[in-house]
Symmetry: C2
Subunit: 467 residues, 2 copies
């Protein structure tokens, strides 16, 4: 198939393009490959490329672009690293994609206040690299090296959320260009405030449908005095998950606790040479003072031993620790190698922790019965886990089967008072599930807010819910 | 002055009253004393009584009341304990006040998940009394024994927020009757979710202007294995505040750290017989394992000693601890006794902690120069502190002077990138300051949301911003 035939038939007005060209010069692209690239994320959706891609370098440029889009009624899709998983950044209605990667300045680090103010294109790894000498770190770590702006948009989370929270808890304020082209600040830099509606939290998780984040102030944390990491094998899933449930219920301030099922372990062994037994595992990390970590470790070791877990295997040096978590973060790519040429249908749910073992257990049975290669990994300390179903992207029956399994998983999570997505967002993929989860009155309320703030439906249109 | 002359001249339509009477019987009141009572909070504002007060007992009743108000275009003010400080619950436009105190059921305690689902009229103390045998507690503790519904409305906070967060972090989901009479759920009971706009956080802090909270699911925490509390006297304010700043910057997971200045100590000595030296003090509480608490205590003692603090005075038994924190929570009433018959103009600001010492220092000088009796206390671990200015309520010049000092304090906090209110909300009192803090574009965005969700301006009208 010729790539250009994939492009939807939206044409941009000549005047609009001319104005953008005046503003951006070479940083406005209508190149097919670039449009294609911006029309994909890590989801199974076919490419939905924009008609053009703008690369902004400043808040003023973003404001000018938003105003041009508003005046010409052109859809605008803010774009970070393109690592979203539910079609969140696809140009479903064509228009302009606004690539923010070049807005990658760290504007301020207030080490005494433990905050950093960054532009949206800074990635989480770049921020942490810059923080290296401050004794501070930024904890939120989705699998990909996502941008802070994108992480705000999807309310991202990751392995550290069990201790440090998600983007919901870690954004102090945002500067946003709203749909009508105003530059607003959602809050000051105080740690807490009771000053009016929580605009910060309204934009966090809004997936670019209400405005473009142009600056974010996020929380930083002191690097712990002591860090220890270990893996522990279990004979069965239930025991592994129950060990997590007990750890959380006892109030252990664990920094990371990740479940990796035996299929995912197999993939890691192949991809990252981890050499682990092909059994369900927990990956742990403990942060604190030396005495505090020792205490946590003893408690969790006891819990695991009582639950039939094997001996802890320690990653004691910083290098071994990095390798361990690098491996964990690479699960997505490692798993893809289990079936070369395959694509992933990825999903995540989150349930109250009292229902976690049951939810993971039933899901495992369901996947096993389906015969599909579909590893489970997850941030189980939060009740959150992911299924990555490997399909032949050209085989619609397989995709349908994966979607069917996904629907059953979501229904199971909702029946347990859980959510259809713990951290990936709704995007294009989970709009029906959002309705199942909250009901039409709640989604209508979201719609009312969208109508009020973006009456022409120009900001990332078609995402989260139909307009 | 005859009390009835204080009532504004809003008349309720006969049909509306008849329908409410059918619904509520004796639980609809137009009694002058009851209206007066509901027209006051702890602020300096003159009473603004509603035309009638409804006492609801169920979500269905709340829905019916909201629909009647909508159909008849009657303002509706949700009301909990009436302990707000910025005029948040005054019936500024008359109409109906909806007292939710009788909706005081604890609907579910999920001890394994560490959540409780409660009706809005449950007070924080009642919830904790009920939790006594579960090994769990609910940490958010504004000074008053506020209702959970009211605490949601003002995004309440308190002495434990430095460790456990505010209502922003501690509400998992809400059930709300919206302005158009729909019953919506803002989220499921999962610990985290990326499913659409964060409606929970939109209602938390909206001061009843967007709907009526009829159920809230909140986070609970395991009672720590070990708790220790102490007070420490300092020779000057700067040293006390700097000790806090250092404690936070070192990442000590302190549970409470309260600043109480010498005037407030004087009041406490008189009211609670605390017998403390009349100097600036810090009140500490440490939570953790026995070893963890010991470690925290040693670290913080060192910090205080290096900063010129006196020996820690320990409140070691649970009774002594209760007495200490009871005294701290009674500061408001204790201070009022310093000038019998006086009223308080209370204000709170919150600044980045790097600016805290400077902000408290300058504020102290300003207050001293004014000659006004105005103790400072605060949740300084969050950068948050309160000033309680004692005035003769009949002396307009004194009230004006207090307002002038308040305006200077807010301007000082804003200049330090802080907020005009850390935890009391905007209410009637701080609307101008909200504009100073966020600018008109941000406040307009709040207004757009209000217009979309409550087009007839019936939900607690006149609060946070002008419609």
């Amino acid at each position: 198939m010729n790539q250009t035939t994939l492009l939807p038939a939206y044409a941009l007005p000549v005047e609009f393009v001319a104005s953008l060209r005046d503003l951006l010069g070479e940083r406005l692209s209508t190149n097919t490959a670039i449009r294609e690239h911006h029309g994909r994320d890590e989801s199974i959706f076919p490419a939905m490329p924009p008609d053009a891609v703008a690369f902004a370098r400043s808040t003023d440029e973003v404001q000018a672009i938003v105003r041009l889009c508003r005046d010409h009624r052109i859809p605008l899709v803010p774009y970070g690293a393109g690592s979203s998983l539910e079609g969140n950044t696809l140009a479903a209605k064509g228009g302009l994609t606004l690539n923010l990667q070049q807005m990658n300045g760290v504007l301020a680090i207030h080490d005494q206040d433990q905050t950093a103010t960054v532009q949206p294109g800074v990635t989480r790894k770049a921020l942490n690299a810059l923080l290296r000498d401050t004794g501070l770190f930024f904890p939120v770590d989705p699998g990909a090296d996502a941008t802070i702006g994108g992480m705000c948009a999807t309310r991202a989370s990751g392995t550290n959320a069990v201790r440090y929270g998600t983007m919901r808890e870690n954004v102090i304020n945002l500067t946003v260009v709203t749909a009508d082209g105003e530059i607003i600040k959602t809050a000051r830099r105080a740690k807490k405030s009771a000053a009016g509606y929580d605009l910060t939290r309204l934009f966090v998780g809004s997936e670019g449908t209400l405005g473009v984040v142009v600056e974010a102030t996020v929380k930083l944390y002191p690097l712990p005095e002591s860090i220890m990491a270990a893996v522990c094998a279990f004979s069965d899933i239930e025991s592994a998950v129950q060990a997590v449930v007990q750890t959380i219920q006892m109030g252990v301030p664990i920094a990371r606790v990740e479940f990796v099922n035996s299929v995912a372990i197999q993939a890691l062994n192949l991809y990252s040479k981890t050499g682990l037994p092909e059994q369900p595992h927990l990956f742990f990390e403990f942060h604190g003072s030396q005495a505090g970590v020792k205490e946590q470790v003893e408690l969790v070791q006891d819990i695991c031993r009582d639950g039939g877990g094997a001996q802890f295997q320690w990653a004691s040096s910083p290098e071994e620790r990095s390798k361990l978590w690098e491996a964990r973060h690479n699960v997505y790519f490692a798993v893809l190698q289990l079936r070369p040429g395959s694509r992933s249908v990825v999903t995540d749910v989150c349930v109250p922790i009292s229902r976690l073992a049951e939810c993971v257990g039933e899901t495992t049975s369901d996947l096993q019965q389906s015969g599909m290669l579909a590893p489970i990994v997850g941030h189980v300390g939060d009740g959150n886990f992911h299924v990555q179903m490997l399909v032949d992207g050209a085989n619609q029956a397989e995709i349908d089967q994966a979607e069917h399994l996904n629907a059953r998983l979501v229904a199971r999570a909702l029946a347990m008072d859980g959510t259809c997505t713990g951290e990936h967002g709704i995007g294009l993929h989970k709009q029906g599930f959002l309705l199942d989860e909250l009901g039409s009155a709640s989604v209508n309320l979201m719609r009312q807010i969208k109508h009020a703030m973006d009456p022409h439906n120009l900001m990332n249109p078609g995402k989260i819910f139909t307009f």
